[in-house]
Amino acid sequence: MVEIKLKVNGKSYILEIEEDMRLLDLLREKLGLLGVKEGCSEGECGACTVIMDGKVVNSCLVMAFQAEGSSITTIEGLEKEGEIHPIQQAFIEVGAVQCGYCTPGMILSAKALLDKNPNPTEEEIREGISGNLCRCTGYNKIIQAVEKGKGV
Protein backbone atom coordinates (compact mmCIF):
# COMPACT_ATOMS: atom_id res chain seq x y z
CA MET A 1 0.00 0.00 0.00
CA VAL A 2 1.13 3.54 -0.72
CA GLU A 3 -0.30 6.85 0.27
CA ILE A 4 -0.99 9.47 -2.36
CA LYS A 5 -2.29 13.01 -2.34
CA LEU A 6 -4.30 14.30 -5.23
CA LYS A 7 -7.09 16.68 -6.12
CA VAL A 8 -10.20 15.35 -7.85
CA ASN A 9 -12.90 17.73 -9.07
CA GLY A 10 -11.48 20.48 -6.86
CA LYS A 11 -11.44 18.40 -3.68
CA SER A 12 -8.22 17.25 -1.99
CA TYR A 13 -7.78 13.61 -1.02
CA ILE A 14 -5.17 11.55 0.82
CA LEU A 15 -5.70 7.92 -0.12
CA GLU A 16 -4.17 4.55 0.72
CA ILE A 17 -3.88 2.60 -2.51
CA GLU A 18 -2.45 -0.65 -3.82
CA GLU A 19 0.69 -0.19 -5.89
CA ASP A 20 -0.80 -1.89 -8.92
CA MET A 21 -4.03 0.08 -8.92
CA ARG A 22 -4.99 2.00 -12.06
CA LEU A 23 -6.22 5.58 -11.87
CA LEU A 24 -9.48 4.30 -13.40
CA ASP A 25 -10.06 2.00 -10.41
CA LEU A 26 -9.12 4.70 -7.93
CA LEU A 27 -11.71 7.04 -9.41
CA ARG A 28 -14.46 4.45 -9.74
CA GLU A 29 -13.90 2.27 -6.70
CA LYS A 30 -12.24 4.50 -4.11
CA LEU A 31 -14.13 7.68 -4.98
CA GLY A 32 -17.29 6.25 -6.54
CA LEU A 33 -17.01 8.41 -9.68
CA LEU A 34 -18.92 6.07 -11.98
CA GLY A 35 -19.04 8.58 -14.83
CA VAL A 36 -15.54 7.32 -15.64
CA LYS A 37 -16.32 4.35 -17.89
CA GLU A 38 -14.18 1.30 -18.49
CA GLY A 39 -14.25 0.27 -22.14
CA CYS A 40 -11.35 -1.51 -23.81
CA SER A 41 -8.81 -1.27 -20.93
CA GLU A 42 -6.02 -0.80 -23.47
CA GLY A 43 -6.12 2.90 -24.23
CA GLU A 44 -7.95 2.64 -27.54
CA CYS A 45 -11.56 3.64 -26.90
CA GLY A 46 -11.31 6.71 -24.66
CA ALA A 47 -14.35 5.82 -22.52
CA CYS A 48 -12.22 6.25 -19.38
CA THR A 49 -10.90 9.70 -20.42
CA VAL A 50 -10.27 12.17 -17.61
CA ILE A 51 -8.47 15.52 -17.56
CA MET A 52 -5.20 15.36 -15.61
CA ASP A 53 -3.44 18.69 -15.09
CA GLY A 54 -5.13 20.11 -18.18
CA LYS A 55 -4.35 17.15 -20.43
CA VAL A 56 -6.65 14.32 -21.45
CA VAL A 57 -5.47 10.88 -20.37
CA ASN A 58 -6.90 7.39 -20.60
CA SER A 59 -7.28 6.57 -16.91
CA CYS A 60 -6.90 2.85 -17.70
CA LEU A 61 -3.31 3.50 -18.77
CA VAL A 62 -2.30 5.70 -15.84
CA MET A 63 -1.24 4.00 -12.62
CA ALA A 64 -2.90 5.47 -9.56
CA PHE A 65 0.43 6.33 -7.92
CA GLN A 66 1.37 8.37 -11.00
CA ALA A 67 -1.46 10.73 -10.10
CA GLU A 68 0.43 11.85 -6.98
CA GLY A 69 0.11 15.62 -6.63
CA SER A 70 -2.05 16.01 -9.74
CA SER A 71 -5.38 17.66 -10.28
CA ILE A 72 -8.01 15.55 -12.01
CA THR A 73 -11.35 16.42 -13.54
CA THR A 74 -13.98 13.78 -14.25
CA ILE A 75 -17.42 14.33 -15.79
CA GLU A 76 -18.84 14.74 -12.28
CA GLY A 77 -16.57 17.77 -11.83
CA LEU A 78 -18.16 19.78 -14.66
CA GLU A 79 -21.29 20.58 -12.70
CA LYS A 80 -21.28 24.01 -11.07
CA GLU A 81 -23.87 24.92 -8.45
CA GLY A 82 -26.28 22.32 -9.73
CA GLU A 83 -25.91 23.49 -13.34
CA ILE A 84 -24.41 21.27 -16.01
CA HIS A 85 -21.57 22.57 -18.18
CA PRO A 86 -22.45 24.38 -21.46
CA ILE A 87 -20.80 21.58 -23.45
CA GLN A 88 -23.03 19.04 -21.71
CA GLN A 89 -26.04 21.23 -22.45
CA ALA A 90 -25.00 21.43 -26.11
CA PHE A 91 -24.70 17.61 -26.29
CA ILE A 92 -28.28 17.31 -25.07
CA GLU A 93 -29.63 20.02 -27.35
CA VAL A 94 -28.23 18.72 -30.63
CA GLY A 95 -28.79 15.04 -29.83
CA ALA A 96 -25.13 14.07 -29.58
CA VAL A 97 -25.85 11.25 -27.12
CA GLN A 98 -27.16 7.87 -28.17
CA CYS A 99 -26.19 4.93 -25.94
CA GLY A 100 -24.15 7.35 -23.84
CA TYR A 101 -21.21 5.14 -22.99
CA CYS A 102 -18.65 7.33 -24.78
CA THR A 103 -20.29 10.58 -23.69
CA PRO A 104 -18.37 11.40 -20.46
CA GLY A 105 -15.01 10.85 -22.16
CA MET A 106 -16.14 12.65 -25.29
CA ILE A 107 -17.25 15.72 -23.31
CA LEU A 108 -14.01 15.82 -21.35
CA SER A 109 -11.94 15.62 -24.55
CA ALA A 110 -14.06 18.43 -25.99
CA LYS A 111 -13.58 20.51 -22.83
CA ALA A 112 -9.80 20.01 -22.81
CA LEU A 113 -9.73 21.04 -26.48
CA LEU A 114 -11.84 24.18 -25.97
CA ASP A 115 -9.82 25.15 -22.87
CA LYS A 116 -6.69 25.20 -25.02
CA ASN A 117 -8.22 26.32 -28.29
CA PRO A 118 -11.47 28.25 -27.81
CA ASN A 119 -12.23 28.47 -31.52
CA PRO A 120 -11.25 25.22 -33.21
CA THR A 121 -12.03 24.40 -36.84
CA GLU A 122 -14.11 21.33 -37.68
CA GLU A 123 -10.89 19.47 -38.51
CA GLU A 124 -9.38 20.41 -35.14
CA ILE A 125 -12.51 19.22 -33.34
CA ARG A 126 -12.37 15.90 -35.21
CA GLU A 127 -8.74 15.53 -34.20
CA GLY A 128 -9.48 16.57 -30.62
CA ILE A 129 -12.04 13.81 -30.12
CA SER A 130 -10.31 11.21 -32.30
CA GLY A 131 -9.15 9.31 -29.22
CA ASN A 132 -12.74 8.67 -28.21
CA LEU A 133 -14.59 5.97 -30.11
CA CYS A 134 -18.34 6.18 -30.68
CA ARG A 135 -20.25 3.44 -32.47
CA CYS A 136 -23.68 5.07 -32.41
CA THR A 137 -23.61 8.66 -33.59
CA GLY A 138 -21.21 8.70 -36.52
CA TYR A 139 -19.65 11.65 -34.63
CA ASN A 140 -21.36 14.40 -36.61
CA LYS A 141 -23.85 15.43 -33.92
CA ILE A 142 -20.94 15.41 -31.45
CA ILE A 143 -18.95 17.76 -33.71
CA GLN A 144 -22.04 19.97 -33.92
CA ALA A 145 -22.34 19.97 -30.11
CA VAL A 146 -18.70 20.99 -29.67
CA GLU A 147 -19.21 23.78 -32.24
CA LYS A 148 -22.17 24.92 -30.18
CA GLY A 149 -20.19 24.73 -26.94
CA LYS A 150 -17.49 27.06 -28.38
CA GLY A 151 -17.05 30.34 -26.56
CA VAL A 152 -19.78 29.72 -23.98
Binding site: E42, E44, G95, R126, C134, Y139
Partner: protein, 333 residues
Protein backbone atom coordinates in the same frame (compact mmCIF):
# COMPACT_ATOMS: atom_id res chain seq x y z
CA UNK B 1 -2.43 8.13 -59.20
CA UNK B 2 -5.56 9.55 -57.59
CA UNK B 3 -8.81 8.80 -59.37
CA UNK B 4 -12.24 10.10 -58.55
CA UNK B 5 -15.51 8.24 -58.78
CA UNK B 6 -19.18 8.53 -57.94
CA UNK B 7 -21.62 5.80 -56.99
CA UNK B 8 -25.08 5.23 -55.63
CA UNK B 9 -26.76 2.46 -53.69
CA UNK B 10 -30.48 1.92 -53.11
CA UNK B 11 -32.23 -0.38 -50.72
CA UNK B 12 -35.59 -1.31 -49.29
CA UNK B 13 -36.03 -3.06 -46.00
CA UNK B 14 -38.90 -4.77 -44.23
CA UNK B 15 -39.02 -3.85 -40.55
CA UNK B 16 -40.28 -6.17 -37.81
CA UNK B 17 -39.87 -9.93 -37.53
CA UNK B 18 -41.63 -10.71 -40.79
CA UNK B 19 -42.29 -14.01 -42.58
CA UNK B 20 -45.34 -14.92 -40.49
CA UNK B 21 -43.48 -14.80 -37.20
CA UNK B 22 -45.75 -13.50 -34.39
CA UNK B 23 -44.76 -9.88 -33.83
CA UNK B 24 -46.66 -8.38 -30.90
CA UNK B 25 -46.08 -5.30 -28.76
CA UNK B 26 -48.04 -4.45 -25.64
CA UNK B 27 -48.35 -1.20 -23.73
CA UNK B 28 -49.99 -0.14 -20.48
CA UNK B 29 -51.15 3.36 -19.53
CA UNK B 30 -52.14 4.47 -16.02
CA UNK B 31 -53.39 7.60 -14.32
CA UNK B 32 -50.98 8.36 -11.48
CA UNK B 33 -51.57 10.47 -8.40
CA UNK B 34 -50.86 14.18 -9.10
CA UNK B 35 -52.59 13.74 -12.45
CA UNK B 36 -49.53 12.57 -14.36
CA UNK B 37 -49.80 9.63 -16.75
CA UNK B 38 -47.57 6.56 -16.64
CA UNK B 39 -46.77 4.71 -19.85
CA UNK B 40 -45.25 1.24 -19.46
CA UNK B 41 -43.71 -0.72 -22.32
CA UNK B 42 -40.98 -3.30 -22.69
CA UNK B 43 -39.37 -1.33 -25.51
CA UNK B 44 -35.77 -1.19 -24.40
CA UNK B 45 -33.82 2.02 -24.84
CA UNK B 46 -30.37 1.15 -26.15
CA UNK B 47 -29.49 4.58 -27.44
CA UNK B 48 -31.62 4.46 -30.57
CA UNK B 49 -34.11 6.89 -29.04
CA UNK B 50 -37.01 4.52 -28.29
CA UNK B 51 -37.80 6.26 -25.02
CA UNK B 52 -37.94 9.70 -26.64
CA UNK B 53 -39.94 8.70 -29.69
CA UNK B 54 -42.37 6.43 -27.82
CA UNK B 55 -42.97 9.15 -25.18
CA UNK B 56 -43.68 11.58 -28.00
CA UNK B 57 -46.21 9.18 -29.53
CA UNK B 58 -47.91 8.88 -26.11
CA UNK B 59 -47.83 12.64 -25.59
CA UNK B 60 -49.33 13.32 -29.02
CA UNK B 61 -52.10 10.73 -28.60
CA UNK B 62 -53.04 11.93 -25.11
CA UNK B 63 -52.61 15.61 -26.10
CA UNK B 64 -50.57 15.91 -22.91
CA UNK B 65 -47.20 17.70 -22.50
CA UNK B 66 -44.15 15.42 -22.19
CA UNK B 67 -43.37 16.59 -18.65
CA UNK B 68 -46.71 15.15 -17.51
CA UNK B 69 -45.74 11.70 -18.75
CA UNK B 70 -43.74 9.16 -16.77
CA UNK B 71 -42.33 6.68 -19.24
CA UNK B 72 -41.04 3.39 -17.86
CA UNK B 73 -39.32 0.88 -20.14
CA UNK B 74 -36.77 -0.70 -17.83
CA UNK B 75 -38.72 -2.30 -14.96
CA UNK B 76 -40.05 -5.73 -15.84
CA UNK B 77 -42.29 -5.81 -12.74
CA UNK B 78 -44.28 -2.91 -14.20
CA UNK B 79 -44.28 -3.30 -17.92
CA UNK B 80 -45.83 -5.73 -20.39
CA UNK B 81 -43.78 -7.38 -23.15
CA UNK B 82 -43.19 -5.22 -26.20
CA UNK B 83 -40.88 -7.58 -28.04
CA UNK B 84 -37.22 -7.03 -28.72
CA UNK B 85 -35.42 -3.78 -29.45
CA UNK B 86 -34.39 -5.38 -32.73
CA UNK B 87 -35.57 -5.60 -36.35
CA UNK B 88 -35.96 -1.78 -36.42
CA UNK B 89 -39.43 -2.43 -34.96
CA UNK B 90 -39.93 -0.31 -31.82
CA UNK B 91 -41.16 2.93 -33.43
CA UNK B 92 -43.71 1.19 -35.63
CA UNK B 93 -44.76 -1.82 -33.53
CA UNK B 94 -44.55 -0.54 -29.96
CA UNK B 95 -45.50 2.95 -31.15
CA UNK B 96 -48.73 1.47 -32.48
CA UNK B 97 -49.31 -0.41 -29.18
CA UNK B 98 -48.88 2.83 -27.23
CA UNK B 99 -51.26 4.65 -29.51
CA UNK B 100 -53.90 1.94 -29.03
CA UNK B 101 -53.34 1.84 -25.25
CA UNK B 102 -53.61 5.65 -25.05
CA UNK B 103 -56.86 5.63 -27.04
CA UNK B 104 -58.26 2.95 -24.69
CA UNK B 105 -57.04 4.98 -21.72
CA UNK B 106 -58.80 8.09 -23.03
CA UNK B 107 -62.04 6.11 -23.11
CA UNK B 108 -61.47 5.01 -19.50
CA UNK B 109 -60.97 8.68 -18.60
CA UNK B 110 -64.15 9.61 -20.47
CA UNK B 111 -66.06 6.92 -18.54
CA UNK B 112 -64.75 8.30 -15.23
CA UNK B 113 -65.55 11.86 -16.33
CA UNK B 114 -69.09 10.84 -17.35
CA UNK B 115 -69.63 9.42 -13.89
CA UNK B 116 -68.24 12.43 -12.05
CA UNK B 117 -69.91 15.03 -14.27
CA UNK B 118 -73.18 13.09 -14.13
CA UNK B 119 -73.54 12.81 -17.90
CA UNK B 120 -75.52 10.26 -19.87
CA UNK B 121 -72.80 9.27 -22.30
CA UNK B 122 -69.14 9.71 -23.17
CA UNK B 123 -69.81 11.16 -26.63
CA UNK B 124 -68.46 14.65 -27.18
CA UNK B 125 -65.96 14.42 -24.33
CA UNK B 126 -62.61 15.84 -25.42
CA UNK B 127 -59.39 14.79 -23.69
CA UNK B 128 -56.57 17.34 -23.91
CA UNK B 129 -53.96 19.16 -21.80
CA UNK B 130 -54.78 17.08 -18.75
CA UNK B 131 -58.50 17.79 -18.82
CA UNK B 132 -61.66 16.12 -20.00
CA UNK B 133 -64.45 18.42 -21.10
CA UNK B 134 -67.63 18.46 -23.07
CA UNK B 135 -66.96 20.11 -26.36
CA UNK B 136 -70.33 21.81 -26.74
CA UNK B 137 -70.61 22.76 -23.05
CA UNK B 138 -67.03 23.37 -21.84
CA UNK B 139 -68.12 24.31 -18.30
CA UNK B 140 -68.60 20.58 -17.81
CA UNK B 141 -64.96 19.64 -17.24
CA UNK B 142 -62.75 17.68 -14.89
CA UNK B 143 -58.96 17.46 -14.72
CA UNK B 144 -56.73 14.37 -14.58
CA UNK B 145 -55.61 15.64 -11.16
CA UNK B 146 -59.15 15.71 -9.79
CA UNK B 147 -59.84 12.26 -11.22
CA UNK B 148 -56.67 10.85 -9.65
CA UNK B 149 -57.76 12.27 -6.27
CA UNK B 150 -61.13 10.59 -6.57
CA UNK B 151 -60.02 7.25 -8.03
CA UNK B 152 -56.57 7.00 -6.44
CA UNK B 153 -53.35 5.74 -7.96
CA UNK B 154 -53.63 2.81 -10.39
CA UNK B 155 -57.41 2.68 -10.70
CA UNK B 156 -57.74 4.18 -14.12
CA UNK B 157 -55.65 2.21 -16.55
CA UNK B 158 -55.79 0.64 -19.97
CA UNK B 159 -53.78 -1.70 -22.12
CA UNK B 160 -53.12 -1.89 -25.81
CA UNK B 161 -51.71 -4.52 -28.07
CA UNK B 162 -50.48 -4.27 -31.63
CA UNK B 163 -49.86 -7.37 -33.71
CA UNK B 164 -48.09 -6.65 -36.95
CA UNK B 165 -49.35 -8.12 -40.21
CA UNK B 166 -46.71 -10.51 -41.53
CA UNK B 167 -47.24 -13.43 -43.87
CA UNK B 168 -45.16 -16.57 -44.14
CA UNK B 169 -43.63 -17.04 -47.54
CA UNK B 170 -44.52 -20.07 -49.64
CA UNK B 171 -41.80 -22.60 -48.71
CA UNK B 172 -42.01 -24.20 -52.17
CA UNK B 173 -41.74 -21.13 -54.33
CA UNK B 174 -40.16 -18.66 -51.91
CA UNK B 175 -42.79 -16.15 -52.99
CA UNK B 176 -44.95 -13.93 -50.81
CA UNK B 177 -45.06 -10.64 -48.92
CA UNK B 178 -43.12 -11.39 -45.75
CA UNK B 179 -42.94 -7.91 -44.24
CA UNK B 180 -45.02 -4.88 -43.59
CA UNK B 181 -44.08 -2.06 -43.73
CA UNK B 182 -41.03 -1.48 -45.88
CA UNK B 183 -38.74 1.51 -45.74
CA UNK B 184 -36.68 2.86 -48.64
CA UNK B 185 -33.38 4.71 -48.90
CA UNK B 186 -30.66 5.88 -51.23
CA UNK B 187 -27.03 6.77 -50.69
CA UNK B 188 -24.64 8.56 -53.00
CA UNK B 189 -20.90 9.02 -52.48
CA UNK B 190 -18.03 10.75 -54.23
CA UNK B 191 -14.61 9.39 -53.42
CA UNK B 192 -10.99 9.32 -54.38
CA UNK B 193 -8.99 6.14 -54.89
CA UNK B 194 -5.21 6.29 -54.62
CA UNK B 195 -4.07 3.57 -57.05
CA UNK B 196 -0.54 3.57 -55.57
CA UNK B 197 -1.41 3.24 -51.87
CA UNK B 198 -4.84 1.60 -52.26
CA UNK B 199 -6.44 4.13 -49.93
CA UNK B 200 -10.05 5.17 -50.46
CA UNK B 201 -11.09 8.60 -49.27
CA UNK B 202 -14.78 9.55 -49.12
CA UNK B 203 -15.13 13.16 -50.24
CA UNK B 204 -18.86 13.67 -50.20
CA UNK B 205 -21.88 11.65 -49.10
CA UNK B 206 -25.61 12.18 -49.52
CA UNK B 207 -28.15 9.99 -47.79
CA UNK B 208 -31.92 10.00 -48.32
CA UNK B 209 -34.07 7.97 -45.94
CA UNK B 210 -37.80 7.36 -46.06
CA UNK B 211 -39.08 7.41 -42.47
CA UNK B 212 -42.82 7.66 -43.05
CA UNK B 213 -42.83 10.57 -40.65
CA UNK B 214 -39.91 11.90 -38.64
CA UNK B 215 -41.26 11.94 -35.10
CA UNK B 216 -37.93 13.35 -33.95
CA UNK B 217 -35.81 14.65 -36.86
CA UNK B 218 -32.69 15.07 -34.65
CA UNK B 219 -32.78 11.38 -33.78
CA UNK B 220 -33.45 10.39 -37.38
CA UNK B 221 -30.34 12.31 -38.49
CA UNK B 222 -28.38 10.70 -35.65
CA UNK B 223 -29.38 7.25 -36.89
CA UNK B 224 -28.47 8.16 -40.48
CA UNK B 225 -25.02 9.47 -39.45
CA UNK B 226 -24.44 6.45 -37.24
CA UNK B 227 -25.51 3.97 -39.92
CA UNK B 228 -23.22 5.61 -42.45
CA UNK B 229 -20.24 5.52 -40.07
CA UNK B 230 -20.75 1.88 -39.17
CA UNK B 231 -21.12 0.90 -42.82
CA UNK B 232 -18.03 2.93 -43.72
CA UNK B 233 -16.06 0.92 -41.18
CA UNK B 234 -17.40 -2.42 -42.43
CA UNK B 235 -16.70 -1.54 -46.05
CA UNK B 236 -13.24 -0.03 -45.72
CA UNK B 237 -11.44 -1.57 -42.77
CA UNK B 238 -13.32 -3.66 -40.23
CA UNK B 239 -12.28 -7.27 -40.62
CA UNK B 240 -13.23 -9.83 -38.00
CA UNK B 241 -10.63 -12.60 -37.91
CA UNK B 242 -12.87 -15.48 -36.98
CA UNK B 243 -11.39 -18.95 -37.15
CA UNK B 244 -13.07 -22.07 -35.74
CA UNK B 245 -15.23 -19.97 -33.44
CA UNK B 246 -12.36 -17.94 -32.07
CA UNK B 247 -12.01 -14.23 -32.72
CA UNK B 248 -8.34 -13.37 -33.12
CA UNK B 249 -8.72 -9.60 -33.11
CA UNK B 250 -11.11 -8.99 -30.23
CA UNK B 251 -9.45 -5.70 -29.27
CA UNK B 252 -9.81 -2.17 -30.55
CA UNK B 253 -6.05 -2.09 -31.12
CA UNK B 254 -6.49 -4.93 -33.65
CA UNK B 255 -10.03 -4.31 -34.86
CA UNK B 256 -10.26 -0.73 -36.08
CA UNK B 257 -13.54 1.14 -36.20
CA UNK B 258 -14.00 4.66 -37.60
CA UNK B 259 -12.90 7.62 -35.50
CA UNK B 260 -14.17 11.18 -35.91
CA UNK B 261 -11.34 11.72 -38.40
CA UNK B 262 -12.60 8.96 -40.71
CA UNK B 263 -16.10 10.43 -40.89
CA UNK B 264 -17.30 13.32 -43.00
CA UNK B 265 -20.43 15.47 -42.84
CA UNK B 266 -23.30 13.60 -44.46
CA UNK B 267 -25.90 15.51 -46.44
CA UNK B 268 -28.95 13.90 -44.89
CA UNK B 269 -32.32 14.08 -46.59
CA UNK B 270 -35.33 12.93 -44.59
CA UNK B 271 -38.13 11.72 -46.85
CA UNK B 272 -41.58 11.83 -45.25
CA UNK B 273 -44.31 9.76 -46.84
CA UNK B 274 -46.62 8.75 -43.97
CA UNK B 275 -47.31 5.01 -43.69
CA UNK B 276 -51.04 4.55 -43.14
CA UNK B 277 -50.73 1.64 -40.68
CA UNK B 278 -48.06 3.40 -38.60
CA UNK B 279 -48.34 5.60 -35.51
CA UNK B 280 -48.58 9.11 -36.99
CA UNK B 281 -47.10 7.57 -40.14
CA UNK B 282 -43.68 6.74 -38.62
CA UNK B 283 -41.54 3.76 -39.59
CA UNK B 284 -38.33 2.39 -38.08
CA UNK B 285 -34.94 3.00 -39.70
CA UNK B 286 -32.40 1.53 -37.25
CA UNK B 287 -30.92 -1.12 -39.51
CA UNK B 288 -31.80 0.13 -43.01
CA UNK B 289 -29.52 3.19 -42.70
CA UNK B 290 -26.45 0.96 -43.07
CA UNK B 291 -27.45 -1.01 -46.10
CA UNK B 292 -27.01 1.18 -49.22
CA UNK B 293 -23.66 2.64 -48.10
CA UNK B 294 -21.58 -0.40 -49.10
CA UNK B 295 -22.97 -0.66 -52.62
CA UNK B 296 -22.60 3.11 -53.08
CA UNK B 297 -18.91 2.99 -52.10
CA UNK B 298 -18.18 -0.08 -54.25
CA UNK B 299 -19.95 1.48 -57.23
CA UNK B 300 -17.93 4.66 -56.77
CA UNK B 301 -14.68 2.66 -56.65
CA UNK B 302 -15.73 0.96 -59.91
CA UNK B 303 -16.52 4.35 -61.41
CA UNK B 304 -13.09 5.63 -60.36
CA UNK B 305 -10.85 2.76 -61.49
CA UNK B 306 -13.04 0.35 -63.47
CA UNK B 307 -12.44 -2.54 -61.06
CA UNK B 308 -15.28 -4.46 -59.41
CA UNK B 309 -14.61 -5.27 -55.76
CA UNK B 310 -16.55 -8.29 -54.49
CA UNK B 311 -14.99 -8.86 -51.09
CA UNK B 312 -15.14 -6.68 -47.98
CA UNK B 313 -13.48 -4.85 -46.42
CA UNK B 314 -11.75 -2.98 -49.26
CA UNK B 315 -8.41 -2.69 -47.48
CA UNK B 316 -5.51 -1.06 -49.36
CA UNK B 317 -3.88 -4.51 -49.83
CA UNK B 318 -7.05 -5.96 -51.35
CA UNK B 319 -7.59 -2.96 -53.58
CA UNK B 320 -4.03 -3.02 -54.94
CA UNK B 321 -4.33 -6.77 -55.54
CA UNK B 322 -7.64 -6.28 -57.36
CA UNK B 323 -6.11 -3.56 -59.54
CA UNK B 324 -3.13 -5.80 -60.43
CA UNK B 325 -5.33 -8.80 -61.20
CA UNK B 326 -7.56 -6.64 -63.36
CA UNK B 327 -4.49 -5.33 -65.21
CA UNK B 328 -3.32 -8.90 -65.93
CA UNK B 329 -6.76 -9.91 -67.20
CA UNK B 330 -6.85 -6.95 -69.57
CA UNK B 331 -3.35 -7.77 -70.87
CA UNK B 332 -4.43 -11.34 -71.64
CA UNK B 333 -7.31 -10.03 -73.72
Amino acid sequence: MKKRGRGIGLSFYGTGYGNGFPDASKAKVKLLKDGKVGIYVGGTEVGQGAKTVLSQIGSETLKLPLDKIIFISEDTSLMPDSGTAAASRQTYNTGNAIKIACENFKNRLREAAREQLKLNAIHGLTVEKGEIYLEFFPQKRISFKELSKIYGDDNIEAEGEFIAQTIEMDPETGQGAPYWPYTFNACGVELEVDTITGLVEIERAVFAQDVGRAINPHLVEGQMDGGFAMALGYVLFEDLKLEKGKIYNNKFSKYLIPTAMDMIQIENIIVEEPEYTAPFGAKGIGEPVMIPVGPAILNAIYDAIGVRITELPVTPERLIKAIEEDGKKKEEI
